[in-house]
């Protein structure tokens, strides 16, 4: 060892190491700020309090779905059925609510609370089916939840048969489209969901297991952690979050119909990954998801404020997602290389 160069080199490499390890947290944040600055300059109407509230309102449903997905992706699994389950939950809750006479659905009216309970129970059931397929039968989550996506769509189709339902229980109407003191209830619900998830992931034993299972599944198993229970649990959590988002979403949109949530699958996955949660598990969290959701929200909203070909918008969203994936994988590789060097 060269005594003279060692201190400077280690200081430099320590800084580099810190930047490397924080890349997945820093890059999304910088992206968000850059987008806000860009749209603020490009469009005078973007940087207003009203519009800020708009963005929050628009991202709330995505945010609630993304909360559940964050758990799943932290475990290095994936859930492709979130949007379909959200859709199914929204339709189930409408199915059990009295509809106007012109709505031609063979529905079964129940009290509002009962309709909500039935919808949430359906989500738990669908989540358990996912969990069973992945942890007991051993189907890769990608494939299992792909099948569940179709099953969810099937449930929607069977219940509404191409019709549109409008009525949902009053409490959902309030939470989905009402507001209190100028703040939309749906934003509050999304905020609470994010907060609870953050507390669970950071301060509970279950949260620690989620990170450890995602970080090194085999090591978790060799440490006597019941890995299958953890993975099953995150799949159920994901389904319940989707169900909550679906019920509020139906109230937010004012209708329940097939394929209503199709775009939310990609948006939710994109939000989690763009935020910097590792696709390989064990790294990231709700903080990342919040930033990711906001990036997507600002992007969607901002592109409406600037004069841009609406068809080009789709392409731009794709490119932003690609860039985030590159950073995500690159950050992982940095870690792996450093880990190997120090081991």
């Amino acid at each position: 060892m060269d005594a003279q160069t060692t201190p400077t080199r280690s200081a430099g490499s320590r800084l580099g190491a810190m930047l490397g390890s924080q890349l997945r947290n820093i890059a999304p944040f910088i992206t968000l700020i850059a987008l806000v600055v860009f749209f603020g300059v490009a469009s005078p109407s973007f940087l207003s309090m009203d519009n800020f509230s708009n963005v929050l309102n628009q991202v709330s449903v995505t945010a609630i779905i993304a909360v559940g997905l964050t758990f799943v992706i932290l475990c290095a699994e994936i859930d492709l059925s979130v949007a379909a389950i959200a859709n199914a939950a929204g339709i189930v809750v409408a199915f059990f609510t009295v509809q106007e006479s012109y709505v031609n659905i063979a529905n079964v009216p129940l009290p509002g609370w009962a309709a909500i309970v039935v919808a949430l129970a359906s989500c738990v059931a669908l989540g358990l089916v996912n969990a069973f397929g992945v942890t007991r039968i051993g189907i890769p989550s990608f494939i299992m939840t792909l099948a569940m996506m179709q099953i969810g769509a099937g449930i929607c189709a069977m219940l509404v048969r191409g019709q549109i339902a409008y009525a949902v229980p009053p409490i959902l109407v309030t939470l989905g489209s009402g507001s209190i003191g100028g703040v939309p209830w749906i934003v509050i619900v999304a905020g609470i969901t994010l907060l609870v998830a953050h507390l669970v992931l950071t301060y509970t034993r279950f949260g620690r297991y989620v990170y450890m299972v995602g970080g090194n599944r085999e090591a978790a198993e060799f440490s006597g952690v019941n890995v299958r229970v953890i993975i099953g649990a995150v799949l159920v959590i994901s389904a319940v979050c989707s169900g909550l988002a679906g019920m509020l979403g139906v109230a937010y949109f004012g209708s329940a119909q097939q394929n209503e949530f199709d775009t939310f699958l990609l948006d939710a996955i994109a939000a989690v990954v763009v935020g910097g949660t590792s696709l390989f598990g064990g790294r990231g969290g709700i903080g990342n998801t919040i930033v990711g959701v906001l990036i997507l929200g600002v992007l969607n909203n901002g592109l409406d404020h600037v004069d841009i070909d609406s068809f080009l918008k789709i392409l731009i969203r794709g490119l932003i997602l690609l860039a985030a994936l590159v950073i995500n994988v690159y950050a992982q590789r940095l870690r792996t290389v450093r880990g190997a060097a120090s081991a």
């Binding site: 034993r205 450890m212 060799f222 006597g224």
Partner: protein, 498 residues
């Protein structure tokens, strides 16, 4: 004797980093000869074979085939010159047919440029019949027993034109009739003029099939002789170098066993079997003793240890802990029954990107917190272990990956020590450690034993088992072949039993 060797190596040396794996080795293989190669793990025989098979291309010395100087750059080079290798882990593709496996990577084509399936099947069938195996070439290879898969792999190597074939531990996974069949095939091919290098730990197998035997020790060839002129005792003597080296004196010295027949049984295994891994294993672990389970690589002891921790299922048999029958369907159940396990690979046990204290607390989280984490008590517990086990780290928040291998191993142990388990199973606890770290581990294990924990040490390194165990079981090809429970044992007797 007048025949020139087909393969001749002279003055071969090879180092990995600063470690000399081979020192000035000469080796000759004659046409139509089966040449047994023996030596302990790390004696250099695998390195030499990898040089011959073109896996290592950087080395000193000369290699000649049929009197021509050669230097292989790759395994492909070696195969083109007629040298093929069949590894212990077969490279059979289970979902492809027997014919496709024989022709893997070299399927015959028709004039139209598509695979000539009929021709391939015919040729594969013929090739296998020449080896004395009558088999439908359309059978998926994965459906065949391991012995046949191995013969298919040998057929593939032969078919690609190999005249010199290196077999690495070919008999370790075979049943006695399968070994007979393999030996029949080898003899037939030898009589056709092919040459074999037969690497094995199983000295009985070596002595039965080989025409001549070479012994390696510490990177040097210490003996070459006709198989008829040697016996098992002599080979073991040469392998471990009795009386040659002071450093190795401990290896040949007598180790005193210290069984504790009066102590209560904390774990018992009765008639445990797992197809293809181990058969009908029964054993008892007593409180306050170290039970060593020794066996060569691939003899089933690693899998047995995993089953005892609920990581692998078993096909038959019963496990009891403290007299109560248990079903260990998950590792969590095993942990709650009081069983702890440290696998042979640290990577499989530890979270490299997490701080030390999280690595330690993961196994005991449910004991220290019901819902909410208590990071301060986690850190406190970790600090205690760091101190007690003398883990060298600035603080318990340091990333685990920053520690040296030996210290990581201690962290892997530490996670089981806060609430002492009834049974602690250690798989290869000192593999790859330097002497100091090994001594630390020996001390820690003894301390745990004296606390009354039943310790099981599973290893393919005789030194590890001898240094730690109070009682030793020897596993041979998936079965418990011998127990050493009284008096003393030495390395040569241990090897002879395996």
């Amino acid at each position: 004797m007048t025949q020139p060797p087909v393969l001749e190596l002279s003055g071969i040396s090879k180092a990995f980093g600063g470690v000399r794996a081979l020192r000035d080795v000469d080796f000759a293989l004659k046409a139509g000869e089966i040449h047994g190669l023996v030596g302990e793990n790390g004696a250099g025989k695998s390195t030499l074979m990898k040089i011959i098979a073109g896996v290592h291309s950087e080395y000193e010395g000369r290699m000649r085939i049929d009197g021509q100087d050669v230097r292989f750059r790759s395994a492909r080079d070696a195969l083109a010159a007629g040298v093929g290798m069949v590894h212990q882990e077969l490279s059979i593709v289970p979902d492809l047919s027997v014919a496709e496996n024989v022709f893997l990577g070299a399927q015959p084509l028709t004039k139209l440029g598509i695979v000539d399936w009929a021709g391939m099947r015919r040729a594969a069938g013929e090739q296998l019949r020449r080896l004395g195996i009558d088999l439908d070439p359309r059978t998926p290879a994965g459906a065949l027993p391991i012995g046949l898969q191995q013969l298919i792999e040998i057929a593939r190597v032969l078919f690609s034109g190999a005249r010199i074939i290196i077999l690495d531990e070919p008999t370790s996974a075979l049943s006695p009739p399968e070994i007979e069949r393999l030996f029949g095939v080898l003899r037939r091919l030898r009589d056709e003029g092919r040459s074999f290098v037969f690497i094995s730990h199983f000295l009985d197998d070596i002595l039965r099939i080989s025409d001549s035997v070479t012994v390696f020790r510490n990177g040097q060839r210490v003996m070459s002789a006709a198989a008829a002129d040697t016996d098992k005792a002599m080979l073991i003597d040469r392998m471990i170098g009795a009386g040659h080296d002071e450093l190795e004196e401990s290896y040949t010295g007598e180790f005193k066993l210290d069984p504790k027949p009066g102590h209560p049984v904390v774990m018992s295994v009765d008639g445990l079997s797992l197809a293809g891994r181990y058969r009908d294993v029964s054993l008892e672990v007593r409180a306050g003793e170290v039970l060593g389970i020794y066996g060569f690589m691939g003899c089933g002891q690693l899998e047995l240890a995993r089953t005892m921790f609920g990581k692998l299922p078993s096909d038959a048999g019963r496990i009891s802990v403290a007299g109560q029958p248990v079903r260990l369907s998950t590792t969590a159940k095993a942990r709650r029954a009081g069983i702890a396990f440290v696998p042979e690979s640290r990577r499989a046990m530890l979270f490299h990107h997490e701080p030390i204290y999280k690595n330690v607390s993961i196994s005991i989280l449910d004991r220290i917190s019901r819902w909410l984490l208590k990071p301060d008590s986690e850190r406190g517990i970790a600090r205690k272990h760091v101190e007690k086990l003398r883990i060298r780290t600035p603080h318990v928040d340091a990333e685990l990956g920053a520690l040296s291998g030996g210290n990581q191993q201690k962290v892997a142990l530490a996670k089981w020590l806060t609430y002492p388990p009834r049974v602690l199973i250690l798989s290869e606890p000192t593999r790859g450690m330097d002497v100091g770290a090994k001594e630390d581990v020996v001390g820690i294990v003894r301390g745990l034993r004296d606390q009354g924990i039943g310790v099981v040490v599973v290893s393919a390194e005789p030194e590890t088992v001898l240094a730690l165990a109070d009682r030793i079981l020897v596993m041979r090809k998936g079965e418990i072949a011998r127990e050493f429970a009284d008096g003393t044992v030495s390395k040569d007797r241990l090897l002879e039993a395996a």
